[in-house]
Amino acid sequence: MHLKCLEIERFKSFGPYTRIPLLEGFTVVSGPNGSGKSNIIDALLFALGLSTSRGMRAEKLSDLIHQGVTHGEASVTATFHLDEGGDLAVCRRLRVNGNNSTSTYYLDGAVCTLSDLHERLGTHHIYPEGYNVVLQGDVTGIITMPSRERREIIDELA
């Protein structure tokens, strides 16, 4: 299984529609400061429901919509290619209307709940507290965290 494509619509610094095809193996994302590299990782976490708004450097959900507009919509679709063949498309759409905001999750086009999504991702070993994503500046987090928290990482695996 691997991530084969990320489609970003009006999420953070991304405009109306951006398609990022991805391949297996070792891909480096590079570019000037402030260009949007970390926002790509934020978009992926957003779509998979793995993020908290703290991790997104956002105060309120409207900060996630391009240009911070308070009436608008953003969405991110992550498409995986499955080992057994076929694809799995995970999408999250955020609608903000003044102070109201709603997030809708979709699995292969059909609406689902966040816990449905977590369960399905869990069968592919993608977990919310999984150590497969390291945010910018967090690399030494494992060293500075309390030792009990570090042990709990192994608890999860067992």
């Binding site: 691997h2 193996g25 891909t27 990782i41 494992i142 060293i143």
Partner: protein
């Protein structure tokens, strides 16, 4: 429950020892604060970078902490692989030769899983399979470019 934990702990520990030795040329292992009753206490990492006496984890340097943390993450991956990994500038504290070592390790691990690594450092760009360039378009939004291999050199020379 304790058996399942110990099985996971021992497996990750073995991986950690071999990966830490490869990444930082030293030796290190995981240790339970209370081996009799693991759930009553925490887990610590004992790591001596090349030729150094054991020190407290907190007194390590920025680069040493990064290599120790990355060794632990790779050890978890070997025990319980994830389909993809996304690392955002995990090489920021590393000197030139440690970035090289990490890039070689990533190259090797990428045979078993997909790695998406944000980096500004040249050795990473040079050892990757491909580079995705991100820039800010005139209209103020992010633009993503598929960088061809001969452009990799141009991107690498902008990195430092």
């Amino acid at each position: 429950k304790r058996d399942a934990f110990m099985q996971a702990f021992n497996a990750v520990n073995t991986h950690f020892q071999s990966i830490f030795a490869e990444l930082s040329d030293g030796d290190g292992h995981l240790a339970l604060e209370d081996p009799e009753n693991p759930f009553a206490a925490g887990l610590t990492l004992i790591a001596h970078p090349r030729g150094k006496k054991v020190r407290r984890l907190e007194s390590m340097s920025g680069g040493e902490k990064s290599l120790t943390a990355l060794s632990f993450i790779f050890a978890l991956q070997r025990y319980r692989p994830s389909p993809f990994y996304a690392f955002d500038e995990v090489d920021m504290f590393l000197d030139g030769s440690n970035v090289e070592r990490l890039a070689r390790m990533l190259r090797h691990e990428a045979d078993h899983a997909q790695f998406l690594v944000v980096s500004l450092r040249r050795p990473m760009i040079e050892r990757s399979d491909r580079v995705i360039g991100v820039t800010l378009a005139r209209a103020g939004h992010s633009q993503v470019l598929g960088v061809q291999l001969q452009q990799v050199e141009a991107v690498a020379s902008q990195a430092s």
